[in-house]
Structure formats: structure tokens, C-alpha cells
Symmetry: C2
């Protein structure tokens, strides 16, 4: 049976260093760590992570709760989280299920009852949700991505401001008949970010004296659903808006595909602006509000590690950057 | 301090049952398990999962190695895996990084050196890869999704057959000038499935006496890359094929967007067929070979659990179903 002493000897370090390198606790240089891990691998040494966990009280594991991974924002965020967690030598346990689903309840029961994680990053958990109470009651370090709560650290772009910048870009171009596309009106299912974005649109429309032009077209934030909703919105020429603010780039792309299908010239007859800077945005020449979910994921891990190091410390709320990127999906409305 | 006896009393079950319910080992009805977990939660009881792990030698955790989550296939597969793992009360630790990347090496070092998982599901690991040797050397139950190896269980559609059905659908419609779009020609980076699909195309073209018409257009399997490659392919009317077999639906959708951009009528001037039945396939009226990555994920978990229960058992290789779905992106070529 290979022991930690064998691994240390092969790697040319002390037993204490080898142990630190393999447990991930305490400082070891990246180079030494790699050497020790390689030695452990060569010798087929199996550290008893469970024994280490009992000794340190840590599982070296972070739980990530996500509603889904099949949208650009979530997939990118997950990559950022993973990258930063690997860096910190923490494993990522994924709890990927829709809020309110039986699977999600089960995952939480499992994770919380057995204390399988050292901390939790919860993405887009609804405020006031029973789930949030459970997470807080578990007294695990908690970071939310999306909504801000008093007692947990959080990161998000300023959704209201992002939608205002998008809307005001269209107003500045001379548009008045601007519709808001996407988001689901049911308050229980309407993402908190989506809701804030629609508020931003309303605020800007109202401020510009366009309160009577406000119209919001519900659709889930996927390309096919937004496409279907946009076909309905755009098909009747008499009630067609000259511009659309989309809740996110997927909704904006759905609208662009709908416009092409209906033979509506863009941007001459229709301007569309999104929020995200999705990987398809450039292909569709989409004007959008850029955000970086990869960076947000990395920042969320930094916030969590700081909570884990100092559980009593103050919660931090970080506003992630966002900025307008103008491409050719927006222009002044055609003179009638 | 709350003990297991308190939890058992509150749930109205024996200590042994409560313990089985919380450790996830041994038989307990779903209803009892839920009651015990709820009692544990009410009493803020924390089972020492690390102690349980030492006792059972199990971590109740499965590692999932994936190159990325930002493509439809991977996101859907991950949902299927997660659903089946929750069902089995196993946690999913995600190792999401490109093959050959430093992050991926690090994840494997970490997972294998510390025995943090009971088994591994490896998605699209290249055959002959050093990585595969490491996975096998770790003697952990292993299931691969994609390539088949002698010593591990595996699941995949028959990629050669899928591409043949797609190609022969076009040949049957009367097409002769059929290009294959997607896949990267570098053998180190060419996905094994992509390679088999291009082989299927070649086999069918050759069998139909069209060997001189074979042309493969490399592009990574994303909509924007395939779009760019398709614009190049289709821009010159003199060398334009009448039909395209795409390596996957994302590549097919890139080709359709390119055709629309160039004003090429579909299907009159161009037919396109994909492989996947992506969530956007219907919106683009795409003829495709349907597969279900969600079911494949669930099946992969079944295969892994059977390896975990009987590590010495024979490896199982499962061919997942696939079938042609005809929509309106394909038709007979226009008579010249």
C-alpha cells in the first residue's frame, strides 16, 4: 500500500507539503502541487478524501444551483464558475433543475441534509422563494447570481439600467413605437432580471413621454418562443412597432429571424436591440448591451471564497459591467 | 446536538431506517426517505457525509467529464444525466473543460488522486487519448458517451448510419452535387462522431457513383462558424452544391442562415439536412436525423450504475436510436 511518505519521497518534498498539496488546504506552489499530484498518480496513491474531510470539516466542494444550462447565459456562467473553482481546487457539484421542480427539491434535500458542500452559488433564485429560506437556514456560505438579498453576497448587472440604455438608444434614433419582447408575465415564473429589464423599458418610455406606446409582448427567453411571439407581433403591418427592445439576445434573435421570414427589411423597417452579446449576436449584426457571464462566474467564486473564509463578514453586492455595442440591427426609423 | 435518534423519532421510523434514508444506501421507499429528510431538515440535523463515506467506501458522487456545455447536444445530455443521477441519489460533479486544456488536466489530477467520485461518465473523449489511459488506470467504473472502447461501457448513436441516411435522403431526391459541411479536419481535434459522420457521407456518395462529387467543408460545429463557412461555399453560384449534409443541426442552421443572407431560395435552390433534431430545428423547418441526448444521458447513468454494482461485469455498448425527420429544408433539385 502506497503511503503519503512514498508520494512525498518521489516528489522530493516533505510529508507535510505532500499532504497539503493533496488536501488542497494550506499554501503550496502550483508547481509543487503538480509534482506531488503527478507522484501520487504514478504511485496510484489514493488519498482518502473522506478522511481529509472529516479532519478539516470541509468537503472541498461547492454546490451550484441553476435552472438550466441550455441558454447562452447559463452555459457561459457555468464555464466561468468552473474555471475559477478548478483554480481554487474546489469541485463543482451541479444542481441543474427548474425552480419548483421535484428534482430540485430532491437535490436540495440531499445536499443540505448531508452537508455535502462547503458553500452554494445559487443562480436566479426567485426572491421570497421558500428555497431561499432553506438555503439561508442551512447556514452555508451563499452567493446569489441575479437577485440581491440582504444576507448573501451577490453579483448581477444592473438590469434596469441595461434596459434603459437599450430603450434610450432607440428613442435617441427617433423611434416612438417601441415594443418590449420577452419575459413571462406570470410573477411566479417571470425571472427577476427579466422583470427588472421590463421596468427599465417602462421607465425610459415614460420619461420620454411615450407612456401610451408601452407594450410588452410575453415570451419565454428562447429563440423559438420569441420567434413565434414576434411573428404574431410583426405580421400585421398596421400594428407593427418600428423597434423592439428584447429582454435578452435570444429573444432579439428570434425577432430578427421572424422579420426575415416576413420579408421585413432591417433596420429600415424594424430596429431590434438585445441584452447579452450572445455568441450569435455578431452573425445577426445585433445591437446589444454586452455583459460577460464568464467574468460574473469567476467573480461569484471570489465572493463565495471570501464568505467561506469569513462567514461572519458583511455581504458584498457587486454590479457587473454592461455596455452598449452598436451593430447594424438598429437605425433611425424610415420616414413615412 | 441533534442525533439520528431524534430524526428517526420525528419521522416515526427506526434509527436504522433513518440512517439508510439519509445515507442513500439500502432500500427505503421514496415516501419514507422524503419524510426522514424533512425531519432532518426541520431539526437542522447534519449527517456527516464524510463519515458515511469512510464507512461505506462510497462518495455517492459521479464525475462527468464534458468538453463544453454550450452546445445543444451537451446541454441536453447533461440534463438527462442529472435527472437520472438525482433519481439514484448520486451527486454530479462536473468537469467541464476542453480536452487537452490545462484546466482539464487539473480536474483529472484532482478527481483521480483523491478518489472523490465513485464512477465517471466521459463524454466525447478521443480514442487513443492519454486521458483515456488515465481513466482506465484509475480503475473507477467508467462509461463513455460517444466512442466505444473495449473495456468501458458506452452509448452513442450509429454516426456512420445517421450520415448515410441523411446523404441517401438527398440522393433519393435526385441530388448529385452534395457537400458535407462541418467537422474539423485536424485529426487531433476532429470529434470522433464528426469523423464517423463524414465517413458515412463518403460511403453513400461512393455507393451512388458520386465519388467525384465528394467535398467536405471544414467548420467547427457551431452556428456562427458553419455560417461563415457556408457563406464561402454558397457565394459563388458556379460552384454551389444543390444540397448540403451538415455534421449536426448547428452546422445545418448556419448554412440555412447563410442561404437566406445570400438570397438563395430553399429548398428550390438548396436542400440542407442535419443530424440532431435541435430545439431550433422546427423553427428552421430543418430535415434532420433525430436523436435524444436526454435519453442517452439517462441510459449512460444506467450503464454506470450497473458497472458500479458489478465492476467485473462485461462492458455494454449501446447504440442509441436515431431516425429521419423530413421537414421542408429538403426537396428535389430544381430542373436546370
Amino acid at each position: 500500500m502506497t503511503t503519503i511518505a512514498d508520494v512525498a519521497a518521489r516528489a522530493g518534498v516533505s510529508k507535510a507539503t505532500a499532504s497539503r498539496a493533496l488536501s488542497g488546504s494550506g499554501y503550496v506552489s502550483a508547481e509543487t502541487r503538480a509534482r506531488v499530484e503527478r507522484a501520487a498518480q504514478d504511485l496510484a496513491y489514493v488519498a482518502h478524501s473522506s478522511a481529509t474531510n472529516l479532519a478539516t470539516g470541509r468537503t472541498q466542494t461547492v454546490g451550484v444551483i441553476m435552472p438550466s444550462v441550455d441558454r447562452w447565459y447559463f452555459a457561459e456562467l457555468l464555464s466561468g464558475l468552473q474555471r475559477a473553482l478548478v483554480e481554487a481546487r474546489l469541485d463543482l457539484v451541479l444542481y441543474n433543475a427548474a425552480e419548483g421542480s421535484a428534482d430540485r427539491e430532491r437535490m436540495l434535500d440531499h445536499a443540505l441534509a448531508r452537508r455535502r458542500v462547503d458553500g452554494i452559488i445559487a443562480v436566479c433564485v426567485q426572491p421570497g422563494a421558500h428555497e431561499l429560506e432553506r438555503l439561508e437556514a442551512a447556514r452555508l456560505p451563499l452567493v446569489t447570481v441575479g437577485p440581491f438579498y440582504e444576507r448573501s453576497s451577490a453579483i448581477s448587472i444592473d438590469d434596469v439600467a441595461a434596459a434603459r440604455v437599450a430603450t434610450e438608444h432607440l428613442i435617441d434614433l427617433g423611434h416612438e413605437d417601441i415594443a418590449f419582447l420577452g419575459g413571462i408575465p406570470d410573477p411566479d415564473r417571470f425571472g427577476i432580471g427579466d422583470k427588472r429589464r421590463s421596468e427599465g423599458y417602462r421607465v425610459s418610455m415614460t420619461a420620454a413621454g411615450l407612456v401610451e406606446r408601452i407594450r410588452t409582448i410575453p415570451a419565454s427567453s428562447t429563440i423559438p418562443d420569441a420567434f413565434a411571439a414576434a411573428v404574431d407581433l410583426l405580421a400585421d403591418r398596421r400594428h407593427r412597432p418600428t423597434a423592439i427592445v428584447a429582454v435578452c439576445d435570444e429573444a432579439a434573435i428570434g425577432a430578427i429571424i421572424a422579420a426575415r421570414r416576413l420579408g421585413i427589411g432591417m433596420p429600415a423597417e424594424l430596429s431590434v436591440v438585445g441584452i447579452d452579446d450572445h455568441r450569435y449576436a455578431e452573425m445577426f449584426a445585433l445591437t446589444t448591451i454586452r455583459q460577460s457571464p464568464v467574468s460574473q462566474g469567476q467573480e461569484a467564486v471570489r465572493l463565495l471564497r471570501s464568505r467561506m473564509a469569513d462567514p461572519g463578514g458583511a455581504a458584498e453586492h457587486v454590479i457587473a459591467p454592461s455596455s452598449l455595442v452598436v451593430r447594424s440591427s438598429t437605425a433611425a426609423p424610415r420616414q413615412v
